[in-house]
Amino acid sequence: MSWHVDAPVWDAYAAGRLDPAAELSLESHLTGCPDCRAAARSQVAPAAVDEVWSRVRLTISAPAHPLSQRAMRRLGVPADDVVVVSAADSFMVPWAVAVGFALVSACVVGLAGLGPANRDVVFLALVPLVPVLAVVASYDALDPLREVVAATPYSKLRLALLRATAALAVALPATMAIGFVVPDMEDLALAWLAPSLGLTLAALVLLTWFEAWVTGGLVTSAWVTVVALLRIGDQVDSLATPVVQVAFLVAAGGLSLALVLRTSTLRIQGGEL
């Protein structure tokens, strides 16, 4: 090497006072000059180097947001909620339950060769339960980190609702599609929504007393029994009447109030809210 970087140039470089051409020249020189590289180390305080490396490492390690997370952020979901929803296992289980049950329901209604009356019965018995199962599956019984999560201050109800919402965002369109895709089901395509809302809120309230699987069993068996009794009385169509639909919405309002009251003081299935 015919030249080496002297102290004034180092000072100017460190302070960012060199012009771009001189800066480029110095950096090119450094790549081929071991003496100047060694000298460069003495120009910067070790703490500053550590800080830079820490930032570099953080940039490399910090999660690269996949498309689904970026989409949620664009839809206005807060960043920390996106992290919770994206925790892979906790999201996948309710998602799989909801979508799986929706598909099973579609297959039973559309492919089992049922007569029109029985098809309506099966549709109204199964489809409103899809959100219920998504919510039940969202509770911490299925969370591999249940014990760790239980000891954190984060609201377990909020955690479950976030997961359920994420599951329902996929499951609801799939479920609604059943009504529109399966022939002759158009008249009931939206009739299941109000009962489903009521049943889901009932499940949330029951989860403040019972474990997830008990809650799922109670709501499912109660709803199937109601539909079966209506079938025996030949009154299944009444579920789609405006009066009954409004009754479900009123019940849902009452259950929402009950849920708020219960969750302000109580716990969910052995773990705390």
């Binding site: 490492r57 960043a79 920390d80 014990e147 760790v148 954190t152 201050p153 984060y154």
Partner: protein
Amino acid sequence: MTAIASFEGVSKKYGRAPALRPTTLDLQRGVVGLLGPNGAGKTTMLRLLSTALPPSTGRIVVAGFDVTASHANRVEARRRIGYCPQEVTFPRGMTAFDFLDYLGVLKEWKDSSRRHDEVQRVLDLVHLADRGAMKVSKLSGGQRRRLAIAQALIGSPDLLILDEPTTGLDPEQRASLRGLLSGLPGTVLISTHQTEDVSALCDRVLVIDAGAIRFDGTVPELLATAAGRVHLGPTPTSGAVQTWKTGTGLVRSVGGQPAPDSSVVDPSVEDAYLLLRSERHTPQGVNR
């Protein structure tokens, strides 16, 4: 010294089976080791203290908050607790950084920039700084154990509760963890089967057996309970609790009547623990 956590007549039953008998206890600053055989109630005690499990009876106070009194108190206490259970099943597909980021959110670190700094800090503490971008499934068993401990360190909790933290760690990693835990400013409660961890690390030792605290004292006090009761000689002592042939060819005997040609040796924490276990039918044992 002010207690960071206390049990007042706390008990826990699973069905009719008692897992922890009524226990009263204060935990001050420092490292406390919880020793006991499998099924003794160690994990139950840690779960109760972590608020992951409600007690059947009694009152638990953490950082001045009675966690048995209200949900609001439990939330306040949880803001001051770091808990690492015996087994942590990691969600599939997450990187080490993602996992800690998720736990950071659950610990109410809302600002993502500050949270990421905190995640990097705890990764540094457990020597996984260069593993942040790796999938958890690709980490070794020891690295996963350190990652589980790292989540408990988020936010520098006043009360750190670690269930068998050294399981799966190699000797260097164990020594490193000891260095980390001994330098923490708050209260650390660890359950362990590794008696050498207790002697190397703990300011205080609790020995639990059949759901009851059998000993509560310092390491020297625990060792004193075995003074003069451990012998080395060519033959085992009569009625010893445990005997084994050492590398020198001599037999080490814990307890029992010494043979004439045996000599008394300094007891280890393990010797004292074995002797305590053998006396478990004595009411209250050597409780303080």
